[in-house]
């Protein structure tokens, strides 16, 4: 759906930022540009200012640890941009290490980045440098860990209040059976 007249984003960004574009992934008919994390903010500013990508449609994370064939840093932050003028979409990705994942915040560029980045921090533990209020969004403050990472067990529970001990009905029934009818008050 992109107009043919405008050159591909890959070329435009490479021409301006040199090696900032590490790769281009073709995903479901669309191109996702993998950027060097340190170059993200500059590239987004250019996309927003010069190329008119004025809407941040989505910002979210993904964890590729153990993904077949994946090489390099496993944590991914994905950005979907949209331009109201040209109706084009852009898809950017940065890959970050699990330990000390850190990338520049886009809060200065897009208002909704604030909540999206808080959610990504919440779920993946990505530290967004320059975020004014980086705290958990969906989970509670006392929560430990980042649940959408692949190393977080799916069955793990972290109740705020300790769970009550469930009644062991099997044991109760066994104890009942071992008692004589008189003792158990059996009528």
């Amino acid at each position: 759906m992109q107009p043919n007249s405008s050159p591909p984003l890959h070329d435009e960004l490479t021409a301006r930022f040199g090696d900032a574009v590490l790769a281009a992934e073709s995903l479901g008919g669309r191109e996702a540009l993998v950027l060097r994390p340190s170059a993200l903010l500059e590239a987004v500013r250019h996309l927003r200012g010069a190329l008119g990508f004025d809407v941040l449609i989505d910002l979210c994370g993904a964890d590729y640890s153990g993904y077949p064939g994946h090489q390099g840093d496993p944590l991914c932050v994905s950005y979907q941009l949209f331009s109201t003028a040209t109706r084009r979409r852009a898809w950017l990705k940065v890959y970050l290490p699990l330990e000390g994942a850190r990338v520049d915040s886009l809060c200065g560029e897009y208002g909704c980045a604030n909540w999206y980045e808080r959610e990504t921090f919440d779920m993946y533990g990505v530290d967004f440098a320059g975020h004014p209020n980086l705290k958990r969004l969906l989970l509670y403050e006392e929560f430990k860990g980042h649940p959408l990472r692949k190393d977080y067990p799916i069955q793990k529970m972290q109740p705020l209040i300790p769970m009550r001990n469930a009644v062991d009905y099997e044991a109760v029934a066994r104890a009942r059976r071992s008692q004589s009818p008189d003792e158990a008050g059996g009528r």
Partner: protein, 410 residues
Amino acid sequence: MPTDISAKFPGWRNGREDGFDIEPLYINMGPSHPAMHGTVKMVLKLDGETVVHADVEIGYLHRCFEKTVEAKTWNQVIPYTDRLNYVSPLINNMGYCLAVEKLLGVQVPERTDYIRTVMCELSRIGDHLTCIGAGAMELGALTAFLYFMKAREASWQLIEEVTGARLTISYGRVGGVVRDLPASFAERWAWVKSQVEENLGEVATLLNGNRIFIDRMKGVGVMPLDRSLQYGMTGPFARAAGFDYDVRRDEPYFAYGKVAFDVPTRSAGDNWARYEVRMEEIRQSVRIVDQALAAMPEGPVRVEDPRVSLPRKKEVYSNIEALMNHFKLLMPGHGIRPPAGEVYCAVEGGNGELGFWLISDGSDRPWRVRVRPPCFAIMSGVEELILGEQLADIVPVFGSVNMIGGELDR
């Protein structure tokens, strides 16, 4: 992102003109407040009755959707998508199926596209009716609410006749829909249409000239175009501010490219504009259903593709290939297995762009299912939206956001 009033209105000063400073009042609004829809908490700082600082807390309906579905098979995710949006579950259902089909490279039969279009628009009608009706009720217009619930009931009854359920419909399948529309569908739709149009007219008469309603809606909760783009808002909320964008028209999916409809926009960006846009969208949805039903071709409703569709029972019992195919689709570790890859696919939900980012590693379970909920972006702008408004105006403003906790918190 201004969360304090001095950032939104430079020159604002707390306190009274005569120099007496008023101590600000802090109010916790929600999460168990009837107008907060049960799932949002707002910590408000008030100067008199004016909101000077707001902190919106979400997450009270977080159900670990995205983590849970990573342990489910691709088909088992479908019922979870119903629960994402509890007023228009069909759109989420179909949106997810469309994304998986893109991942698989499956092309559904043409009739399915039309059925999905019809069912999505029925849901959208219900969604908008609920939003406007509940919003009007919160302002005291109970009659409007009851009329719209009557109309919604008609559309939900039709949905129930098709899917067998009102909310937990699970009607979409990868590669089609569960079953065809009942034979009486067109006839029943004519009745639903008459109900919806009648109630639309009645409510428009009740509200459009109502002094109280106009005063509470016009000029209240203004989100101008530049700010709404800044927050990445889409859907009726952004169209009311002048962002002329609708996924159905701009990136057509299903049968939306083959029907004619208008995308209503306004420029004021206030409650009233959002009300008008939603009212008009209901009329457009009725138009779409009419056209889609008229143009709907005959044919199968599931794709004949052994990778996604169960073979017919008669075949399963009579030949070995179909029996093997049946088990290959149902046994643990088999099932639908999209090739390794990723896709981002968007549909127009009741509130705006509903996106699914799916990652497959080639196994029978999704590696990652990301939902881009339409009301998330809108909710992130609510803090700014209610700054400088009266405490009582939060109710209609928040009502016009049409927050759906199910997809907001996932």
